[in-house]
Amino acid sequence: MRALLDSLKSLYPLDDIVLQRPDLAFATVPAAQVRGLLHHLKEREGFTHLVLLTAVDWLEDGMFQLTYLLHDRARARDLGLRTLIRRDRATMDGIHDLWPTAATYQRELKEMFGIDFPGSPGVDDPFVLEGWTDLPPYRRDFDTKDFSERNFNHREGRVTHDPAAHMKRHLYPDEA
């Protein structure tokens, strides 16, 4: 894994490398290099299996982190590529031509995070939501509890405790 990362570092501007486990590493690449690097990994390094493509919302930095996780079965190793894109211009190049199944992930990201992948097949079709008008729900600034209280009728009599306070009272009464 070390050797692979060193050789990749000479070709691509890798940043923030974390060797999480001997068989799993994460690295950050600029958005413009992602497609090239993925292509290189798929064709040259044996990372033929796209495990997942997902996003993390770093609201406080105004960034979306896209994570491409690739798996190399022959050498039993995984490489996660992070790339950061601006929240207010959430657009990214698709990788559905490298892995056809990526179109599904991109469709989900479009719906749940509002990250656009122009040209990805069916990317604008609704995926799991229907008639959704609010913010994309996986964004951090979408408050699911608030939405649920506004949108749905709740049955009276349900008590919601703050878990920390409630557990403290019942399980750890001596703790200050």
Partner: protein
């Protein structure tokens, strides 16, 4: 509204053109009517006894509770011995088991399936999530109380309720039916506007007729 629901001109395979307005042409628009009881109480009691002995469940697993239907159909728990069986289509069934949380998308299909069932019909809410949202109380996509959207005759609490709880629930439902208290379909007809208003409040893209059967 989706394209296939718009009013349009269609050309048939034989070359003849005709106009189609799907919402009007494909559905009956008449609202549901209340079904009065039989003229004699003893006759109604007989009907209710007969109804209680044949609960035919619509085979629509709306949530995780569907997993406990399979054991009920098989020899271990065998609900068939109580006159309960599963049917593939709403037209043949009179009991709708809402097996767990309903996402808004499923709620739409559930309403259509429910309206297609024949009177008299019963609804059983299975699991805590149908009662008050259960552990999905803060989810943006599941409804929190089923009886706002459909007339519920019986709730079976638990997450998830055991097959024995369902069998006990069937027996209780039979009891309710024999007492003539399972009037869900009539309640739905009587408070039709209220149910529709509730349904339309959560289904933001209502693209079907108000009553489809």
């Amino acid at each position: 509204m989706r394209d296939e629901l718009q009013k349009r001109v269609v050309k048939g395979p034989d070359g003849v053109e005709f106009e189609v307005e799907p919402l009007k042409d494909y559905y009956c628009e008449a609202p549901p009517a209340e079904h009065p009881p039989a003229y004699l109480k003893i006759v109604e009691d007989l009907f209710n006894w007969a109804r209680s002995q044949s609960l035919w469940i619509l085979g629509f697993g709306t949530g995780c509770g569907a997993i406990e239907m399979r054991p009920l159909m098989t020899p271990r728990f065998d609900a068939y011995r109580y006159g309960v069986q599963w049917r593939p289509t709403p037209r043949q069934s009179n009991l709708f088991i809402i097996s767990g949380y309903l996402s808004v998308k499923t709620l739409k299909r559930v309403i259509r399936s429910y309206e297609q069932m024949q009177n008299p019909k019963y609804v059983v809410g299975l699991g805590s999530c149908t009662i008050n949202g259960g552990m999905y109380w803060d989810s943006y996509n599941t409804i929190k109380r089923l009886d706002d959207y459909l007339p519920v005759d019986l709730y079976i609490a638990g997450c998830m309720p055991r097959p024995e709880a369902l069998l006990a629930g069937f027996e209780t439902l039979k009891h309710i039916i024999r007492e003539g208290k399972a009037e869900g379909a009539n309640l739905y007809a009587r408070n039709f506007d209220w149910y529709k208003a509730n349904q339309k409040k959560v289904i933001h893209d209502w693209d079907m007729p108000d009553y489809n059967w």
